[in-house]
């Protein structure tokens, strides 16, 4: 069996009777055992995946959908009932989930089987998966480098063939940036397109769950089963009807100059522009556009995200679940809060909780928070204006390829800058997909580069079609 089969190929193998779901599960469990010691993409491996797959064997042969019997990996901030769920934080070290996230329910209904929970930056705070309380994940293309983050475990697992697909979450680029670093596809849907029920919240107005896959076609398959309105998430919605609206010949692509300026590695830039050229050769029109507020996105993000995170993380208090300290060590309730939270949160979580607390405190709220909300509006207006003229916008996903482990851990601001191109899609709530565009050479290593394609809100299906045109043109139709 090969570890880089697409979901369609796997489904065909199951359908033809060539592969039983249980063989599939044991294949991936064995690969994880064999290779994950080096990569460390999983925090928890579901030993019961084998049993579940054996039950699926019996049902195989009947009518079933494209995900039946297919194992997958889940970022450790998405709840899977009775499985550990830590968000890679010490404060949840021994926590097991009480219920399934809506996305997990939906995928279970289709017969997909959870292989395990993947490593991440603590509470999805980071861009390298080095902020995990349980050890860093390595990039499968070069293990001296980071896989990106915060969904670094999910991206590395798919890239290393340790899962056929994975779920991640994206608050400021946490699906797309690791996908670009690991050479896989990462899709952040429109805000609200996928239910967040059962996702451990970081910044609620920005968080979104999405798939990490080998191909755009696979991303479509997974997305089609996780999308839709969910009464348990009042911000969720249906995307509405989609008719195939365009072909590459009448596609208009916008290239924003602000995303191709200073700070962008010329080798990455070259790959992305080559990808744009592929569209042009297919008949698309390409035009340069300007998004004057684009480069303020990161500053807006570092006000809004910590503000929301500081309130979301207030729930970790040592009373209801998670880390606790012995009775005799604390004198009263306040003392217990201080100790549990002081010991349980890692440095990045502490930074953001304190930053948010400061920004929202009396006297600073208007200067920081309201100001950021106003610029957020201007960023969204930039997109609205741009989309009057073009159908999609293409930019690099990241300014550089994967950096070395440890390179940016001492300088948080440098680390934050690796999300400079991705955060705007979250602020504006847009769908955005990162697609591999070949490799670049960096001190002897061949490292993947990614382009991201933005589309207007709710145009997720159209966006994935556009991404697939490129993929099929470059790889040939599989």
């Amino acid at each position: 069996m090969s570890s880089n089969l697409t979901l369609k190929e796997i489904k065909n193998n199951i359908q033809k009777g060539d592969t039983a779901p249980s063989e599939l599960a044991s294949f991936y469990l064995a690969r994880i055992k064999d290779r994950d010691g080096e990569i460390h993409s999983y925090l928890h491996v579901a030993e019961d995946a084998q049993d579940k797959a054996q039950k699926a064997d019996i049902k195989a042969g009947g009518e079933y959908g494209p995900l039946f019997g297919i194992p997958y990996a889940v970022k450790d901030n998405i709840l899977v009932k009775d499985m550990p769920c830590t968000a890679a934080s010490k404060i949840l070290e021994n926590h097991t989930a009480v219920y399934n996230a809506s996305v997990i329910e939906k995928l279970s209904d289709e017969g997909a089987i959870v292989l395990g929970k993947t490593n991440m930056d603590e509470f999805a705070m980071g861009s390298s998966t080095e902020n995990s309380a349980f050890g860093a994940t390595k990039n499968p293309h070069d293990t001296s480098r980071v896989p990106g983050g915060s969904s670094g475990g999910s991206a590395a697992a798919v890239a290393a063939g340790l899962a056929p697909f994975a779920l991640g979450s994206d608050t400021g680029g946490s699906i797309r940036q690791p996908a670009a670093f690991c050479g896989v596809v990462g899709f952040k849907p429109t805000y609200g397109a996928v239910s967040r029920y059962g996702l451990i919240a970081m910044a609620s107005s920005l968080d979104q769950i999405g798939p990490i896959t080998n191909t755009v076609e696979d991303a479509k398959t997974v997305f089609n089963f996780i999308l839709g309105k969910d009464e348990m998430d009042s911000t969720s919605m249906d995307l509405g009807e989609y008719g195939r609206e365009k072909s590459p010949k009448d596609l208009k692509i916008g290239i924003p100059e602000e995303y191709f300026g200073d700070g962008l590695d010329p080798k990455v830039k070259k790959r992305v522009l080559e990808a744009v050229e592929v569209y042009r050769k297919m008949g698309a029109q390409v035009k340069e556009i300007s998004m004057p507020h684009a480069l303020y996105s990161l500053a807006v993000y570092y006000i809004i995200m910590p503000s929301e995170a500081s309130s979301n993380l207030a729930r970790y208090d040592g009373v209801k679940y998670g880390l606790h300290v012995a009775d005799y060590e604390t004198q009263d309730l306040l003392d217990m809060y201080l100790k549990v939270r002081g010991q349980g949160f890692g440095p990045e979580a502490l930074r953001r909780v304190m930053l948010g607390t400061y920004i929202l405190s009396a006297g600073y709220y208007d200067a920081y928070y309201i100001k950021a909300q106003k610029v957020r509006n201007l960023i969204e207006e930039d997109f609205t204006r741009a989309f009057e003229d073009v159908d999609v916008i293409i930019s690099p996903t990241t300014p550089t390829p994967a950096f070395k482990s440890g390179e940016k851990t001492q300088d948080p601001l440098q680390m934050y800058l690796s999300d400079i191109y991705t955060v705007s899609a979250n602020l504006a709530g847009l769908p955005c997909v990162s697609v591999p565009v070949g490799e670049v050479e960096e001190s002897g290593s061949k490292l993947p580069a990614g382009m991201q394609i933005f589309a207007p809100r709710k145009k997720d299906h159209f966006l994935l079609d556009v991404a697939e045109w490129y993929e099929k043109e470059v790889n040939g139709v599989k």
């Binding site: 106003k374 504006a428 709530g429």
Partner: protein, 105 residues
Amino acid sequence: MKKLTKQEVEHIAHLARVEMPAGKLDYYAEELSAVLKYVEKLNEVDTKDAEPKAHAADLASVFREDAERSLSENERAGAVKAIVSRFPFVQKNFARVKSVFSKER
């Protein structure tokens, strides 16, 4: 630019309900000030005519019937057990916490 002092960091940490070892105050004062300095670039943006935006979703208020969701006796017992089993300190079906007011404070 705004540079946070050790005392300010100590105060913020307390508001955020985290115990901060004295030896770490300088470190966080540096780190937080660096981020605050970075976000100050927003002052370059003219926002005279811009409305603040809290959310990218076009949402109206979402209401549902104020109705009880009924669970069977078994489901209810199962849910209670699952939740109570996560409490660090339990007394019957309650989470036990330290006293809110202590004599020493």
